[in-house]
């Protein structure tokens, strides 16, 4: 078995809201990502998936646990290793209208990493930017323009080109398509897949759209209120979801076949997402779970391998119950 490129071990990230209240945005998640694959991270808004992504790329310090990239703890990097890490891991952002500096030309935006790391200048800097623009499906003449002159999809392509400029190994895509039209979503996702094949990239794909995650991901992790609920190969997760939350999510995802859609059983998830400031005791999902039992309120379910390579944290599966 190959060595994972990214190991997240029991990662926690808390924010101090005021003197008495602490928000646990990420509450002990663990997973591994292998070179060349796409790992999808899904969950509702506010479940901590973006915070997890930002902690992994060291925009935030970890409150507990560790993130190992190529075997090195990313929060302890210094000097040369830090610089190397900043090149090897890149991020694509959610909002294409906020992720490009409105006062810089496309040329300067894409070349930012080249300037910071003093990789290229003058003529070669231009060459690199032109090449990247063509790679992402734009052309040379766009280089002198400003972000406001582009559509959402084009801006997202510019964001991708900016990340590619650093020749990264690993890209965290933080809901890269959720701000785009459906037709443009497919374009951007296909571009990302094409680039993955050509450059051997590894993706951590954060999203809330299950159908798109299934399309692009090899393995998928489902998050709920800062915890990992279920993790499996993408086909396996969609064919046989074990956690009630995943089952609920999947039954609301549209299927492009009306016959099948009419036949399937709809599982409605009741109620609202509880406040992460005051999460339920025991299993986080119990307040909305159709199968909630007495034990759910008292004991945290363990993270177990219910089927080969299929992990879940739920008391319905005997191994999860510590008693």
């Amino acid at each position: 078995m190959t060595k994972p490129i990214l190991e997240v071990k029991n990662l926690e990230k808390t924010f101090q809201i005021d003197r008495n209240r602490v928000l646990k945005a990420v509450d002990g998640i663990s997973f591994e990502v292998f070179p060349g694959e796409t790992f999808g991270l899904v969950g509702e808004s506010g479940c901590g998936k973006s915070t997890a992504g930002r902690t992994i790329i060291n925009l935030y310090d970890a409150s507990n646990g560790e993130v190992l990239f190529d075997g090195k703890n990313v929060h302890r990097l210094k000097g040369k290793n830090q610089k190397k890490f900043r090149r090897e891991m890149q991020m694509i952002f959610q909002d294409p209208y906020a992720s490009l500096n409105p006062r810089k030309t496309v040329m300067d935006i894409i070349a930012e990493g080249l300037d910071i790391h003093e990789i290229a200048n003058g003529r070669s800097r231009e060459e690199v930017v032109y090449e990247l623009l063509e790679t992402v499906g734009l052309n040379k003449s766009h280089a002198t323009r400003y972000p406001h002159e582009f559509s959402g999809g084009q801006r997202q392509r510019i964001g991708i080109a900016r990340a590619l400029a650093m020749e990264p190994k690993f890209i965290i895509a933080d809901e890269p398509i959720s701000a785009l039209d459906v037709s443009v979503q497919a374009q951007v996702v296909n571009l990302m897949r094409k680039l993955q094949k050509e450059k051997g990239l590894t993706y951590l794909f954060i999203a809330h759209d299950l159908s798109m995650v299934k399309y692009i991901s090899d393995r998928v992790g489902v998050m709920y209120l800062g915890r990992m609920a279920e993790l499996a190969d993408s086909e396996e997760l969609y064919d046989d979801p074990l956690h009630p939350y995943t089952q609920g999510l999947l039954s609301t995802a549209p299927i492009p076949d009306p016959v099948q859609a009419r036949q399937r059983e709809k599982i409605r998830i009741k109620g609202e997402l509880p406040s992460p400031l005051d999460p339920p005791s025991g299993c986080r999902f119990r307040t909305r779970c159709p199968h909630a039992m007495a034990v759910c309120a008292q004991v945290d379910p363990l993270w177990v391998e219910a089927k080969p390579n299929h992990w879940v944290a739920c008391h319905l599966y005997p191994k999860s119950n510590p008693q």
């Binding site: 930002r54 790329i57 925009l59 830090q82 610089k83 900043r86 090149r87 891991m89 890149q90 991020m91 952002f93 959610q94 909002d95 906020a98 992720s99 490009l100 500096n101 409105p102 006062r103 810089k104 930012e112 990493g113 910071i116 790391h117 052309n139 003449s141 766009h142 002198t144 323009r145 400003y146 002159e149 964001g159 900016r162 650093m166």
Partner: protein, 307 residues
């Protein structure tokens, strides 16, 4: 019967990418070009700009038109309103008023520009650091700012002027000593708003230094509000300079600023009102024009702020 034919892949072929069939983009418009277009549409601002340009032209060319200078006294022609060659007459010491008004206007404007420049340098740095680093740094810097703000600035300026040697630079420094506070507030507020934008995060993921993020990403996005604050701080500096001169803490004779001229004219107001009228008129035009320009710039550089 199946009336809908299935789409066949072979019907389609991708168009070769070329410059010709790529999208047609509108002509390029930069930030400043856009701002200028909006500024031009504002009549008041345009009038202000024209007035300031005319005034500056006259201030530099005007003094060449008659052969006098601002400091030569000639008591035999004192207080003459109509005298050939002296366009605006002479003052109580027989000095040419035309020369003195334009000399004073230049001095006043120079003081105002130096003070505004110092405001920008101190205010942007202070506000930028305070807003960007936040937390404890911000708390301490904000308390300093509040202390500065709570002392009436006239008192501070008057105390400073008693220590400093009267001159153009000392007056400008005294004005900037309290003048940078509003600038720092504007910049801090903007930086606080902008620093969580995703483009700042993007720069951080690429390993940009704090210095680079602050001065290459954030400050350029605050240029609009900074310029607006400057256009409003210039007339206030001119006013304060006039005020200082009026109460006798400004420049010393024979040097002149608009404030000194107004003060001199005020002494002989009942006998020779023209000696007050001309410098006061120039002072009013300068203040009015800068305020008009400031309003226009606010609408032009920050269209969202309009209403």
């Amino acid at each position: 019967m199946n009336s809908t034919k299935k789409l066949q892949k072979s019907w389609f072929e991708p168009l070769a990418p070329s410059e010709k069939n790529s999208e047609v983009l509108a002509p390029q418009t930069g930030y400043w070009k856009d701002a200028w277009r909006r500024f031009k549409a504002n009549k008041g601002a345009l009038i202000g700009l024209v007035l300031i340009i005319l005034l500056l032209l006259i201030a530099f060319i005007g003094p060449l038109l008659n052969g006098f200078d601002y400091s030569t006294q000639n008591l035999s022609i004192s207080n003459q309103e109509h005298l050939s060659g002296h366009f605006l007459g002479t003052d109580s010491l027989g000095r040419d008023l035309w020369q003195r008004v334009w000399y004073g206007a230049k001095v006043s404007l120079l003081i105002a520009f130096i003070a505004a420049f110092l405001d920008v340098v101190i205010g942007v740095t202070f506000g930028g650091i305070s807003g960007y680093f936040g937390g404890r740094v911000d708390s301490v810097m904000q308390r300093i700012l509040e202390i500065m703000y709570s002392i009436p600035n006239i008192v501070v300026i008057i105390l400073l002027m008693m220590y400093l040697e009267p001159g153009i630079l000392p007056i400008a420094v005294a004005l900037a000593f309290t003048g940078w506070v509003p600038m720092a507030r504007v910049v801090r507020a903007q930086i606080l708003k902008l620093k969580t934008q995703e483009y700042v995060l993007a720069a951080r993921t690429m390993g940009a230094s704090h210095f680079r993020i602050l001065f290459k990403h954030l400050i350029p996005n605050v240029v609009g509000p900074i310029i607006i604050a400057v256009t409003f701080s210039i007339p206030s500096a001119i006013f304060f300079e006039a005020f200082l001169s009026f109460i006798g803490l400004g420049l010393r004779s024979p040097a002149a600023s608009l404030g000194i001229l107004v003060n001199d004219g005020y002494r002989t107001l009942q006998l020779f009102p023209y000696q007050l009228f001309w410098p006061a008129l120039v002072l009013c035009i300068i203040m009015l024009s800068f305020n008009l320009i400031g309003d226009g710039l606010r609408d032009a550089l920050d269209p969202k702020m309009k209403k």
